[in-house]
């Protein structure tokens, strides 16, 4: 990454990243891979989505993040369909991951295990 020489550079980078990464709405799967997530098998789920989404020719990005704090339901993932509110799903194993791809990602049909958002974000 290029050197940031002033707060203006920082602002410029922020703008660029927001545009390139978040500007165009795209299907996104985020796997929560902190210690709690990884201990419950989040890495396997991450790999599963990477491989399977490509195999099934679905244009989506698979990204990782830290834990959301839902230790009781790890591994948890967040799925964002273009132009829709994102959904967090817990207790994801390969079986459920497959169901998520087939039902939610392809058709927008919800699956079991959705975790309602229970906090206010800092906006």
């Amino acid at each position: 990454m290029k050197l940031i020489k002033s707060p203006a550079d920082l602002k410029q980078i922020k703008k660029e990243v927001l545009e390139s990464k978040y500007g165009k709405e795209k299907m996104r799967v985020r796997v929560h891979m902190g210690t709690s997530g990884l201990a419950s098998g989040a890495k396997e789920i991450f790999d599963f989505f990477k491989v399977e989404l490509e195999k099934r020719s679905i244009d989506a990005s698979v990204v990782s993040a830290g834990d959301l704090g839902y230790s009781f339901a790890e591994p948890t993932i967040e799925v964002k369909r273009p132009n829709e509110n994102s959904v967090v799903i817990g207790n994801v194993d390969k079986l459920r991951a497959d169901e998520i791809i087939e039902k939610y990602i392809k058709n927008g049909e919800l699956v079991d295990g959705i975790l309602p958002t229970n906090y206010q974000p800092l906006i």
Partner: protein, 597 residues
């Protein structure tokens, strides 16, 4: 976008499921099938909505309509009215307990306003290994603003005005700490981040470092600018390998793009951060012990004063703050002291992250404004007690804290109220106990931890805690006498008064607070020699109720020591002299004939 299909979400949280939620789910499916709608409308089981007192909860999409206290018999009406005719079932609509208004949208739920994420703002949202992603979520913006538009004194004033208090345990005002460190002039000064999270059951610092490492780096640089230090050190336990790896990546990236190192953002300010590893000793969370450990010495505390702000790392002025404290800094700079000071209670501002553990349904991390009550935390956000058991106590502050009981459920949680209740904030571990937990054993468990973690430097802590533990061991073995209770109390008070550092000064807290709140339980142990919760093995006896025993011999076959005798089809007997109280027979018995006395 395709037209949204109708979906019925049924809460699958433990509380709702136990409350006929499963039958409701089945009925909804049956009703849909009866109307040939099973392929058009989907029924989905969700996680807890946090509205357990009003469960089972049903939510219908689109429209986000929430129904509460739905019984299995209501399934027909929901399907025939709402699904088929699009008419809301008015009598089931959720009514907000505070505003008494019927809610239409989930977004208006008050329970959702219970949690506010400041410290955890980016955890689980950004990619912790990408500095670009962090920058896109406002990282380093506060640093830029501070370096270009503010003097060190201005920053200290903002932090002071915000009312931020140290989140590591003591609750010392952060701004004041920075001011003292700034006032002590020296050629070298240090900023230390205490990431030696040793409190059993607490893992918020780990989560922040794993999910948002740049938040900590940025805040350390801001602190460095305010106290005129150019070096930062993060003291982290080596048991957190993932947090260490992500911190290393973050430091490297920040260096590469000039956000750490020489001449940051062209302002002439230099700041560098290094990682120092700890071996995971609880006492190293104490700032003087932590500094000694970083210097390569034994992790033992020394007497304060001198405080680290005067003479810390290598004898230079050092400012030590906890991870969670640092994570609050940039939002305060970006939004202003006034914004932060409006959150929380009068003397405890902002939010606090709690790690919920123990017998609670939704274990994990939550962040609530200071002043939220224990009831809200446990029963609304935490989803209540596991298996519908009765709440008994919650330990805050880990082994240095005390327990809160039913009478404290409606006390707003903040630094001062917890101390008044005989506990402390600590780092925010919250261990929930139910009716099956024996409070004497709980106190013994925490003391066992401090006995093991005591560094051994001062006698009250090294010897006193050991003696306290022995006394508790005695009591749980049924060898205690009533006078032991006074001995426990006296010894605890002496240890508190005479120990060198915070570890010893707070280690008897679990004993004192359980003695205060659950004296009857201690008395039962020493007088009647009974453990009311049925936890202390030496105080219980397995017994076969002959009226219930059919003589199936299952218990006798499973007993590993041959303590059970009896003829087939005749009631059996347990020989208490041989029985080792493993409980295997009780698990095997299908007729509830074996009980604990």
């Amino acid at each position: 976008m395709a037209k949204e299909k109708m979906q019925i979400l049924v809460c699958g949280g433990t509380s709702c499921s136990d409350n006929q939620g499963e039958a409701l789910l089945d009925n909804l499916k049956l009703e849909l099938e009866a109307n040939a709608l099973e392929n058009v409308v989907h029924v989905v089981r969700t996680g807890c909505f946090g509205l357990c007192a009003l469960g089972p909860i049903v939510k219908i999409l689109p429209g986000e309509i929430i129904y509460s206290k739905v019984t299995p018999d209501d399934a027909r009406e929901i399907v025939s009215e709402h699904i088929m005719k699009g008419r809301k079932v008015e009598r089931l609509l959720y009514t907000d307990p505070l505003t008494k208004k019927t809610l239409i949208s989930e977004k208006d739920l008050t329970s959702h306003k219970k949690q506010l994420r400041i410290v955890l703002r980016n955890c689980g949202i950004i990619d912790p290994e990408s500095i670009e992603d962090a920058i896109a979520h406002d990282a380093y913006e506060a640093l830029g603003r501070v370096l270009t538009t503010k003097k060190p004194q201005d920053v200290i004033k903002i932090i002071k005005d915000s009312g931020l208090r140290g989140r590591g345990g003591g609750g010392f005002p952060t701004g004041l700490k920075w001011e003292i460190a700034n006032r002590n002039k020296s050629d070298e000064k240090y900023v230390v981040c205490n990431a030696d999270e040793g409190d059993p059951g607490a893992f918020m610092d780990r989560s922040v470092l794993e999910g948002d490492p740049h938040a900590v780096l940025e805040a350390m640089a801001i602190c460095g600018y305010s106290i005129e230090a150019d070096r930062g050190l993060i003291y982290i336990r080596a048991e957190y390998p993932l947090a260490v790896a992500r911190l290393k990546t973050a430091i490297k990236q920040a260096h590469e793009c000039g956000l750490l190192g020489k001449n940051i953002m062209g302002t002439g300010f230099d700041f560098d951060i290094e990682i120092r590893y700890g071996a995971g000793a609880f006492v190293c969370g104490e700032e003087t012990a932590l500094i000694h450990s970083m210097e390569g010495l034994r992790g033992e505390p020394t007497v304060k004063p001198p405080f680290p702000a005067e003479s810390g790392f290598r004898g230079k002025p050092t400012n030590v703050n906890n991870v969670e404290t640092f994570a609050c800094i940039s939002p305060i700079i970006l939004r202003g002291a006034e914004w932060f000071s409006k959150i929380g209670t009068e003397k405890s501002n902002g939010t606090k992250v709690f790690a919920l553990a123990g017998k609670i349904n939704n274990v994990g991390l939550i962040e609530v404004p200071m002043g939220t009550t224990l009831r809200e935390v446990i029963f609304e956000i935490g989803g209540g007690i596991r298996k519908g058991k009765k709440f008994k106590a919650a330990q805050t502050g880990g082994p240095s804290g005390g327990c809160l009981t039913e009478k404290h459920l409606d006390t707003p949680i903040d630094f001062d109220n917890l101390i008044a209740a005989g506990s402390m904030m600590g780092s925010g571990g919250l261990i929930v106990m139910d009716e099956d937990d024996c409070m004497v054993s709980v106190a013994k468990f925490f003391l066992e931890f401090t006995v093991e973690e005591s560094c051994g430097k001062c006698a009250p802590c090294r010897i006193g805690n050991k003696r306290l533990h022995e006394l508790l061991e005695h009591i749980t073995k049924g060898k205690g006498v009533p006078a032991d209770l006074d001995r426990l109390k006296n010894m605890s008070l002496v240890i508190k008064d005479t120990s060198l550092c915070g570890l010893g000064q707070s280690s008897p807290n679990p004993v004192l607070s359980t003695l205060d709140n659950f004296r009857d339980e201690y008395v039962a142990h020493v007088v009647a020699k009974k453990c009311p919760a049925g936890k202390c093995k030496d105080l219980m006896e397995y017994f076969i109720v002959s009226a219930n025993c059919v003589g199936c011999t299952a218990c006798a076959r499973v007993c590993p020591v041959g303590a059970i005798t009896g003829e087939r089809k005749e009631p059996h007997l347990i020989n208490p002299d041989i029985c080792i109280k493993c409980g295997a027979c009780m698990e095997k018995c299908k007729f509830d004939a074996i009980i604990i006395q």
